[in-house]
Amino acid sequence: MFKIIAKEKLTPVIDCLRVEAPALAKKAKAGQFVIIRVDEVGERIPLTLADWDAKEGTITLVAMEVGTSTRKLGLLKAGDVLTNLVGPLGLPSDIEKFGTVVCVGGGVGIAPIHPIARSLRQAGNKVISIIGARNKDLLFWEDKMKKVSDELIVTTDDGSYAAKGLVTEPLKAKLEGGKIDRVIAIGPAVMMKFCSLTTKPFNVPTIVSLNSIMVDGTGMCGCCRISVGGKTKFACVDGPDFDGHQVDWNIAFDRQKVYLKEEKESLDRWESCQCSK
């Protein structure tokens, strides 16, 4: 059991939890993820680390309420526990001095891009961050991102806050405006795909962090397999970071949809149970 030290709602549908996990916090590195189970009947779901504090012995997780597990997570309060928490899993992001890097965070992907931007900046890179969301209500951590970036650009799809448009627009402008040595994009798969397409003509190495469906998260089941450069890879142990130009996005999109019907059935049932409570 892992105790929740603090819980806040970053937006009406995005939750941020600080959880006690001393051994894990000591080992965590930017880009790695954990797998949690909210209760005894729960799924194992992967969440990329949003932050950690080795001294305090805690990790920070951010999740958007989209399905049964994340809705259950949203109901937890400080003092409650996560039934299971395992990690740090996956390979850490490559952190070295590349020069000028652009970190793109879309939607809930703003959370995992934060420690990567911070680590890249600590490694001596000039960090330009672009964060975006569908609308103002889904945007968070602008202040935190500002602190770890040399420059921060904010967009909303509907223009309800900051610049109207998609994150790919300022990304393209930056690529045209000067030498960019590396791009890291984390967010919805479709956003990562279009970031990769945007950087391709400029030949800038582009890293994406795939949040595939997983079960064990240690290479055991192969549920998270994807095709990268024509080879089958497991997101859990070979990633989650991959070369965005090599990822077969069609397979990645398809495999995210395997359980759409069951996910809806599960959520409908959970919601009706909640109502009758």
Partner: protein, 469 residues
């Protein structure tokens, strides 16, 4: 007073009752129901207590089989339990999943008369009696603590036995498990209807009762490396991490939706209880027509799970013929009785998807058997022009597993084979790395529960000798 042995040898092996195939194909309750009191007495009384004791040498952990059978015949269950458990810490599991027909029972003197004593069934009865009569158990006498600490990585058959034996020798044991439940393959791999999970957990509880500290949710190599364990706290480390990495087909279409590794399919069903979805949150795709590729026990388990989930037709697709099936005969028979359809001499060429990337069919080759290969089995070769289509919507790949590289890749100084297994001495489990032992599938590649338990046991003895020298 001892019963006078019957002069005439009884060759009527007592059958164990099983659930009706038509009924059990739709439930997850245990298929084999176990002996009744009368049945076990009758079967035990068939044992002629021969002086050869071939059965004992046929057992990977050398259980004193004639002695515990004698105790059963005399109705002294506590004594039977004592004898059994002095060599085998997990008899309720072994009584169910050991391939006795190729071990103790194969070499039984009555085997020549085609009526070996049903040692596995008697073992199961004794173990279940023990689980049902815990209050009658005399507490295990533990020796005074030695002050030595051992880390056991992995809580499957090898780890459980190694941990139990070390604890009984007075060492302090911490057992690390990556998943959220202890038991390894006994929990995620073998289905409920063959090995009820409450039986596994009862055995895990027994190991805990010996003072073993079980740390779940702990992926070693990530949370701590073996070198850190040795440097910080532990005098020795045992690697019982199994063979958890699935092999795929390497044919077109293997990444389509609806293609599972057997590991994923079985983990969803067994560990995550997807068969109880939506009461449990983890879903699984229940195909109408399911093809399971492979011919081992894991393939049988996958096929029988698919059937119980509600598939209309379930195929075992195997590239050799019936004679070469590596699965236990009993499990093949169970599968056939339940209605699994066997496609022998068949090998997939490619999996074909629909416009939404879901499996809709599988193209296969017809095979024929050629010259024997390195394994001594006749090599299957493609019959030219024999391609044909199978309509399927779920494919489960059960071609075997290899060890997880997490520990080997994060531990300095281990000797790793090209198959990814850890090199360890067969008798002691000692690796080439100081203070590190290994045993079970991580050393042998995918094998049986009992051989892993045997390796755990031998390693425990070797670790104890090292710690107390």
């Amino acid at each position: 007073m001892e019963e006078k042995p019957k002069s005439k040898i009884n060759l009527n092996r007592v059958e164990m009752p099983r659930q009706d195939p038509k009924v059990r194909a739709h439930n997850y309750k245990e298929v084999a129901l176990g002996y009744t009191d009368d049945m076990v007495k009758e079967e035990a009384s068939r044992c002629i207590q021969c002086p050869k004791r071939m059965c004992v040498s046929g057992c990977p952990v050398n259980v004193d089989i004639p002695e515990f059978i004698k105790a059963v015949r005399e109705g002294d269950m506590p004594e039977a339990v004592r004898i059994l458990k002095s060599k085998n810490a997990l008899p309720a599991i072994c009584g169910r999943v050991c391939p006795q027909e190729t071990q103790c029972e194969e070499v039984c003197t009555l085997s020549k008369k085609k009526a070996p004593i049903a040692i596995g069934r008697i073992e199961r009865y004794v173990a279940d009696w023990d689980l049902g009569n815990k209050e009658k158990r005399s507490p295990t006498q533990l020796p005074p603590p030695t002050g030595k600490k051992v880390a056991v990585i992995g809580s499957g058959p090898a780890g459980l036995v190694c941990a139990a034996d070390l604890a009984k020798m007075g060492h302090k044991v911490t057992m690390y498990e990556a998943l959220h439940t202890a038991g390894g393959v006994l929990m995620y791999g073998i289905p409920e209807f063959r090995l009820p999970k409450k039986v596994v957990q009862a055995e895990v509880d027994y190991v805990k009762s010996l003072g073993v500290d079980v740390q779940l949710d702990s992926v070693m190599g990530k949370l701590a490396t073996v070198d850190e364990l040795l440097a910080n706290e532990f005098n020795a480390v045992f690697l019982g991490t199994g063979a958890g990495l699935p092999m795929f087909l390497d044919i077109p279409g293997e990444n389509l939706n609806g293609v599972y590794s057997a590991n994923e399919f079985l983990t969803r069903v067994n560990l995550m209880k997807a068969y109880l979805f939506p009461d449990y949150d983890t879903p699984i795709k229940v195909g109408k027509k399911v093809a399971v590729i492979g011919g081992g026990n894991v393939a049988m388990d996958s096929a029988r799970c698919a059937l119980r989930l509600g598939a209309e037709e379930v195929y075992i697709v195997y590239r050799r013929s019936r004679t070469e099936l590596p699965a236990r005969h009993e499990e093949v028979e169970n599968a056939e009785e339940e209605g699994i359809i066997f496609k022998f001499l068949t090998n997939p060429k490619q999996i074909i998807g629909d416009d939404k990337s879901w499996v809709k069919s599988m193209e296969c080759y017809q095979m024929e058997l050629g010259e024997p290969d390195a394994s001594g089995r006749r090599r299957p070769v493609i019959k030219p022009g024999s391609e044909f289509m199978m309509d399927v919507d779920v494919v489960v790949v059960a071609l075997g597993t290899t060890p997880n590289p997490l520990i080997p890749s994060t531990t300095k100084g281990l000797d790793i084979t090209k198959h990814g297994t850890v090199v360890a001495d067969e008798q002691t489990g000692k690796t080439v790395k100081d203070r590190v032992w290994a045993g079970g599938d991580v050393v042998t590649g995918a094998a049986t529960v009992i051989s892993a338990m045997g390796a755990g046991k031998r390693a425990a003895a070797s670790i104890d000798a090292f710690l107390t020298k």
